[in-house]
């Protein structure tokens, strides 16, 4: 069997970014994808962040399948049948080159993979990588589920997604814990293009994104989302797997109840459901991050827990880690250096210099804080909604009394000391 400069396992954003960058630099690359074609096994909300892709394929806007560029972001805090929220819409977002897009991953990944093949990489689909091939402690190749399917290369880039089976089997990191990941379920609902545009008050190509938290997660730590695509909307909800395990709530029931919420139901009315998907999202942040490289191997994307959950950013970290890993390999190749751990560690340096490690470091305590403080997902949403309701109901009660009532509702449920503690924790976690 011939030997390659690099094997990339997986054709999601991180795998494609790595394979494309390597192939562009003239290295011999083979990429293994278990789906029928790249994208048929990949799930995401899905928002594309242009800056990460611009650094890989600057002219992507001319040919990539993009749904809508986002001009409005809504943040909702939901009670049982109400919500209070903020909204940011800017005409600046309506000026090309657009910053964020909604995409459909099955079509987008297939397009990206086409670029990877054009760049000269060998893309082999419908093939599942089952094990890493080791020579002592060094990774020398990948075993696949095909007859004489052992592949060998100087370096193996693991882009096989959140479950990261290969790294686990090789003992590079332990099994994920329920508190490290969130389980999200979502549906895509098809509506005529004009209906999407009239319901969200946008013109052709313009998109709206709604992020939600509160009662829709029934006390579990999690969020919901609603994204507008060209002629469909995607609606989903995700919570920490540890909470799902404890509460034993069925995710599809959670989704169905969310779709029935009075604020959401009219936005998706008459939509034709064409796909129901589920996916795990790395939420552990910096503290759950495994070893990211070793002799003959590197980890990129979700497999390395490279997700900034607080800002719901995943695909940009994936593409950036894929690119940086590839650039590290190219540097070593040109310098004639071995793909050994000490040399590959340069990858960590590149990550530290980039927004990837900076953001992950900034929010490293956030998962812990939210875990310990479910009130951010139950009590506060309720208090904030009721406060708004009290203030906005004109019933002859004087405003001073109303204010006192609102303050008492907060102190009664969280006590003065609790409120101060919560504020301090949020401040420290955001610092």
């Amino acid at each position: 069997m011939e030997k390659f400069d690099a094997i990339v396992v997986g054709a999601g954003p991180s795998g494609n970014a790595a394979a494309y960058t390597l192939a562009k630099a003239g290295l011999s690359v083979i990429q293994i994808e278990r789906g029928e074609y790249p994208g048929s096994k990949n799930v995401q909300g899905a928002i594309l962040y242009s800056d990460a892709l611009e650094k890989i394929i600057p002219e992507f806007r001319d040919e990539a399948p993009l749904e809508r560029h986002i001009i409005e972001q809504r943040m909702w805090v939901l009670d049982d049948d109400s919500y209070i929220g903020t909204q940011y819409r800017s005409d600046a977002f309506n000026k090309a080159p657009y910053n964020r897009y909604t995409i459909l991953r099955a079509q987008f990944d297939k397009w990206f993979s086409g670029k990877v093949s054009q760049a000269g990489a060998l893309v082999i689909c419908e093939t599942t990588a089952t094990d890493l091939i080791m020579d002592g402690s060094r990774v020398v190749g990948v075993r696949t589920d095909r007859e004489n399917g052992d592949l060998f290369a100087d370096v193996v880039i693991l882009a096989d997604g959140v479950n990261s089976l290969l790294a686990k089997k090789a003992g590079f990191h332990p099994e994920l814990k329920p508190a490290d990941v969130a389980l999200a379920v979502k549906e895509i609902l098809f509506l005529p293009q004009e209906t999407v545009e009239s319901r969200f008050n946008v013109k052709e190509g313009e998109g709206v994104v709604i992020e939600m938290l509160g009662k829709i997660t029934k006390g579990m730590m999690g969020t919901g989302f609603l994204y507008t695509n060209n002629e469909s909307v995607t609606i989903g909800v995700g919570c920490m797997l540890s909470d799902f395990k404890k509460e034993r709530i069925s995710p599809y029931l959670l989704l169905e109840q969310m779709k029935a919420h009075p604020a959401i139901k009219p936005l998706i009315e008459g939509g034709e459901m064409k796909e129901y998907t589920a996916h795990l999202i790395p939420e552990g942040g910096l503290k759950a991050m495994p070893q990211i490289c070793g002799d003959g191997w590197m980890i990129v994307g979700d497999a390395g827990m490279f997700v900034n959950a607080v800002h719901r950013e995943g695909s940009n970290l994936a593409m950036t880690t894929g690119r940086l890993a590839a650039e590290t390999v190219i540097g070593l190749k040109q310098a004639g250096k071995e793909m050994k751990a000490p040399n590959l560690a340069a990858y960590r340096g590149k990550l530290d210099d980039s927004f990837v490690m900076k953001d992950l470091a900034k929010y490293k305590d956030m998962p812990g804080i939210f875990h310990a403080n479910p009130q951010f997902f139950t009590t506060y949403p309720e208090l904030v909604n009721q406060a708004a309701h009290t203030m906005l109901t004109v019933d002859g009660v004087d405003k001073k009394t109303k204010e006192r009532e609102i303050v008492r509702s907060f102190t009664r449920s969280r006590s003065l000391f609790g409120l101060a503690g919560d504020a301090f924790k949020m401040w420290r976690a955001m610092r």
């Binding site: 082999i124 093939t127 696949t144 095909r146 002629e231 034709e272």
Partner: protein, 283 residues
């Protein structure tokens, strides 16, 4: 050395086509293209003959440029060469025009290597007409063997073949001479799981592209819409069956009475079912 040509077609995965229940419009979003499932049984049978007797397999399809993916997949299973017959003039072809085009292409293939057998799928899941196979056989004067459930034996010296053919009440065992055209019955074999060397060979293979002229077709009147006697005048969604079940009840609601009442209603309202039950039970 036996030379087998296998005709395949790239079709939309029709199981994914949905009709919008309210607007009754055809929803095509997210319907991927696949190799016509019936053709995989034909390709697998050809590959098994090649495994046993040694041979060369040319796989051919008529379709748009993206049909190249279907041919690459056929190579990954073990086909040796792939030819994509693609030309705007073929658009709108019905089965008669399609069999004309494929037959001429196969005649071109014969110029470089004589063809012993042609394999086709029983039908396509988008057309379901099962006429392209017979059409090619007639034009190339090949023995036509349709609904074949198994190829029993192939004798290249005597140029004879024995097959089993599915008929309504049983199976015919037929013997005939090469060259012949075979359409395979679904479920007669199971497509192999390609080896890695073949997957890599397929990814690197070049697929020959023939336009109308290269496929040996001079008269454009014979292909595409012009060469097609049949014309589709309307496409529409079937009216959904909404009648709910007639619940059988008797005053006693005892099992024996319910069973008797049910049997009476079925036998009176559906005499052909009653005949079938009596005919079957008498055996």
């Amino acid at each position: 050395m036996i030379h087998i040509v296998v005709c395949i077609k790239q079709v939309p995965d029709s199981a994914q086509i949905r009709v919008h229940p309210v607007t009754n419009t055809i929803m095509r979003q997210g319907v991927p293209a696949i190799i016509n499932p019936y053709d995989l049984y034909a390709l697998e049978e050809a590959l098994r003959i090649k495994d046993k007797l040694g041979g060369f397999i040319t796989v051919i399809t008529m379709g748009p440029p993206q049909a190249e993916n279907a041919l690459r997949k056929a190579i990954s299973f073990g086909a040796d060469e792939a030819i994509l017959v693609t030309d705007r003039a073929f658009a709108g072809a019905d089965t008669l025009a399609t069999s004309f085009a494929l037959a001429s292409a196969i005649r071109q293939i014969e110029k470089s290597m004589p063809v012993d057998m042609v394999f086709c799928g029983k039908q396509t899941i988008d057309g379901d007409t099962a006429q392209v196979g017979p059409g090619i056989a007639k034009r190339l004067d090949l023995e036509l063997l349709t609904y074949i459930s198994s190829v029993v034996s192939v004798n290249t010296d005597k140029r004879e073949i024995v097959v089993q053919r599915r008929s309504e009440g049983g199976v015919q065992v037929l013997k005939t001479r090469l060259p012949c055209l075979i359409t395979m019955l679904e479920g007669s074999n199971e497509m192999r799981f390609a080896t890695m060397p073949n997957m890599i060979r397929a990814a690197r293979a070049t697929v020959k592209k023939w336009d109308r002229v290269a496929a040996g077709i001079e008269d454009p009147g014979k292909i595409g819409l012009k060469g097609s006697p049949t014309v589709v005048s309307k496409v529409f969604a079937p009216t959904p069956k909404t009648a709910k079940a007639e619940i059988v009840q008797t005053e006693s609601n005892e099992p024996q009475d319910l069973a008797a009442a049910l049997l009476m209603r079925v036998f009176t309202r559906f005499p052909h079912v009653a005949d079938e039950v009596r005919k079957n039970a008498a055996v």
